[in-house]
């Protein structure tokens, strides 16, 4: 069995959807400068001279019907493939930060190419992490070279599916990257190694150039992560229900533009609402209202037949301490129990996804593993009821010497933490190790393994990629 929790009733979900459709029809979305406006106009949308598109409900519903329910994000091999088909939750990192919590000094500093490289290596080595969004900015690489150097680093350090979070400025280079990574564009279409994130600007705007890039990539078969990140009380209404209505208007408006231009394009509804903390004027992602809105979004997306992402691992904590633990735990369990297809927030991220910490990755992996185990629930079969064993052991016996105990322990019947400690107290005290020490060990092990293994992709692929991305000696480890 799989655990599912219901947050909104069917009637409540329909009410949110109806409000979103009404917003799109009466207010619309500004998509100024997008070439796709002509396509939308031709399909029956009203487009005014300022680039505001008003969508008839039937156009949106046609687009929703065209969305494939299952979505493939391909890895370097099928072993790393992620298929979002509603059967389980997959996990992601977050993006895109410019600050790193330095594990050695404890200081927050601008992020570097080395941070990005090390982070990708550790994420690649983390079994619980499935997808790598472009998560960090190499602030030490000159801006004019940065985008391509970053792409090279991601693709040569992870075999997992990659999502470009920021809009590429050099789309010709990106097409070439698709070809190199997959062999050719036909193989890329069959197994898309890279996806693109297309984010709205709340309330109710999307950059026209970004939208056109999304349509271009969608036409090549790249999944598009259609992202809405409204902030309750600032760029969205103060209520979670109102924010949900606005969020889904933005998601559906953007999806409609993409599906009208490229019917059947794989899209992921990415729901990452935040709130504006009115006391500290900070944007919060680790709060409970965002958790609820994410859960409700999973329900609505699935009701519409669209795979859904939410930022279920976010925390407002500035370090991997108590706050990070309870916020990530509560949020992630909610997201997984709601059936979110992909959860970000994400591995290694702190301070509302603005700061990256290498040492937080193994800790987040543990939280994800625990949430995943909880979501699998309890398997009830004649074998697992173990009636024969209970009768055999009888009254006052023990089950330690049962063969099933031994084989099922080895098969993972009970979740075994890698970071958390279950040592007896005196032993724990004597070892003098904390969760942070265990996490640091995991990081060191991942980096050492990479040093021995070498980079990802074939030598030929790396050479071609280096050529396209203008890689110099300073850009590689």
């Amino acid at each position: 069995m799989t655990v599912r929790v219901e947050w909104l009733s069917a009637a409540e979900l329909d009410a949110v959807y109806a409000e979103a459709l009404s917003i799109l029809e009466s207010v619309g979305m500004r998509m100024k400068g997008a070439a796709v406006l002509d396509v939308l106009r031709g399909a029956g949308a009203a487009v005014d001279e300022t680039g505001v598109v008003r969508f008839p409900a039937e156009l949106v519903e046609r687009a929703v019907a065209a969305c494939p329910r299952d979505l493939l994000m391909a890895g370097e091999t099928s072993e790393q493939d992620v298929v979002l088909d509603g059967s389980r939750t997959f996990f992601n990192v977050s993006g895109c930060a410019a600050k790193t919590l330095d594990g050695a000094t404890g200081q927050v500093r601008p992020s570097t190419l080395k941070d990005l490289r090390d982070g990708t290596i550790v994420l690649d080595a983390t079994p619980e992490l499935d997808v790598v969004w472009t998560f960090l900015t190499a602030t030490d690489v000159p801006l004019e070279r940065r985008e391509l150097v970053e792409y090279y680093t991601y693709l040569t350090e992870t075999a997992k599916p990659v999502v470009f979070v920021d809009c590429p400025t050099q789309t010709e280079h990106v097409r070439r990257i698709f070809e190199i990574a997959s062999g050719d564009l036909e193989r890329f279409r069959a197994r898309p190694r890279m996806s693109l994130l297309c984010a709205a600007r709340s309330p109710l705007e999307v950059n026209g150039e970004l939208l056109d890039v999304a349509v271009e990539f969608a036409s090549l078969g790249a999944p598009i992560c259609v992202y809405s990140m409204p902030i309750s009380g600032a760029t969205a209404p103060i209520t979670p229900a109102g924010t949900l209505a606005l969020l889904w208007a933005e998601v559906l408006g953007t999806i409609t533009a993409i599906e009208t231009a490229v019917p059947g394009a794989p899209v992921l509804a990415c729901c990452g609402p935040g709130i504006l903390d009115m006391r500290y004027t900070t944007m919060s992602l680790g709060n409970l209202e965002s958790t609820l809105m994410g859960a409700a979004s999973s329900e609505l997306g699935h009701r519409l037949g669209i795979p859904v992402h939410n930022s279920g691992l976010s925390t407002d904590a500035k370090h991997s301490g108590v706050q990070a633990g309870y916020e990530k735990g509560l949020k992630l369990m909610t997201a997984v129990a709601s059936g979110a297809d992909l959860v970000s927030g994400g591995f290694g991220f702190l301070d509302s996804s603005s700061t990256f910490s290498l040492e937080a990755i193994p800790i987040d992996a543990e939280i994800a593993a625990m949430a995943g185990r909880m979501a699998r629930g309890i398997e009830v079969t004649p074998e697992t009821l173990m009636g024969d064993a209970i009768r055999r052991v009888g009254i006052g016996g023990d089950f330690l010497r049962e063969k099933d105990t031994r084989t099922r322990v080895r098969a993972g019947e009970h979740f075994v933490p890698r970071i958390g400690s279950r040592l007896p107290f005196e032993q724990w005290l004597g070892e003098g190790r904390t969760e942070a020490d265990a996490a640091a060990d995991a990081v060191r092990a991942a980096l050492a393994a990479r040093a021995e293994r070498g980079p990802r992709l074939s030598e030929g692929q790396r050479r071609e990629l280096a050529d396209v991305c203008g890689i110099g000696p300073a850009d590689v480890a």
Binding site: C96, P110, T139, R146, M283
Partner: protein, 210 residues
């Protein structure tokens, strides 16, 4: 008569724009100079709001409404100056850098700076580096304020600051936005980093010796 100054301050603390406008007009009608009722009445109010915000007793929506009440009082007193603008504490040009279109934080900061006596020119969003410099020259600004919300656009702040330094221009530079930190500000040579609207006012006051 002393009560009218307290009333003025209270109208700002209560975020009551209608009341602030009425009190401002009543003060002027009774012969109180515009600068007097502003400095000894309304400004005291906005300063108290700032302290209440810092201590957590006032939240952002109330801060914004107080700033709005201050704008109302300022409109009334400025109108009485018969074409002479009230002397501002300083002149600021402020915008969101090129490639970036987030502006809600900027809007909050601008409203609060104005409420605290600064003349602020809102340059809008997606502002090229050269435009910050050109508008600072045009407005005879004291401060160039730059907001960036994206990690990819923060570099624009560095560009503006480099131009100010290379050309020996007289402007102080202040940066802000979610990905910015004090360390980033130090790295790019900004004169100040503003963590939020209230912090922005304090840092700019300090830069200009107010």
């Amino acid at each position: 008569m002393a009560d009218i100054y307290a009333e003025a301050a209270e109208s700002i603390v209560n975020a009551d724009r209608a009341s602030a406008e009425e009190i401002a007009q009543r003060a002027l009608d009774s012969g109180i100079a515009p600068a007097d009722i502003m400095q000894n009445g309304f400004v005291k109010g906005i300063q108290e709001v700032g302290e209440l915000f810092e201590s957590g007793e006032v939240f952002l929506p109330e801060l914004m409404m107080s700033a709005d009440a201050m704008a109302g009082a300022t409109e009334v007193t400025n109108a009485a100056l018969e074409g002479e603008a009230a002397e501002a504490k300083g002149r600021i040009v402020l915008g969101t850098v090129q490639g970036d279109v987030h502006d809600i934080g900027k809007a909050i900061v601008i409203a609060y700076l104005k409420a605290n006596g600064y003349e602020v020119t809102d340059l809008g969003r997606d502002v090229p580096a050269a435009s910050f410099i050109a508008r600072a020259k045009e407005e005879n600004a004291d401060i160039i304020g730059m907001s960036a919300l994206l990690t990819t656009t923060m570099e624009e702040q560095r560009k503006v600051i480099k131009t100010v330094k290379d050309e020996g221009l007289p402007y102080k530079t202040v940066v802000g936005g979610a990905p910015c930190t004090q360390r980033w500000a130090d790295q790019i040579g900004a004169d100040a980093y503003a963590e939020d609207a209230n912090d922005g006012v304090k840092k700019i006051d300090a830069l200009l010796g107010k």
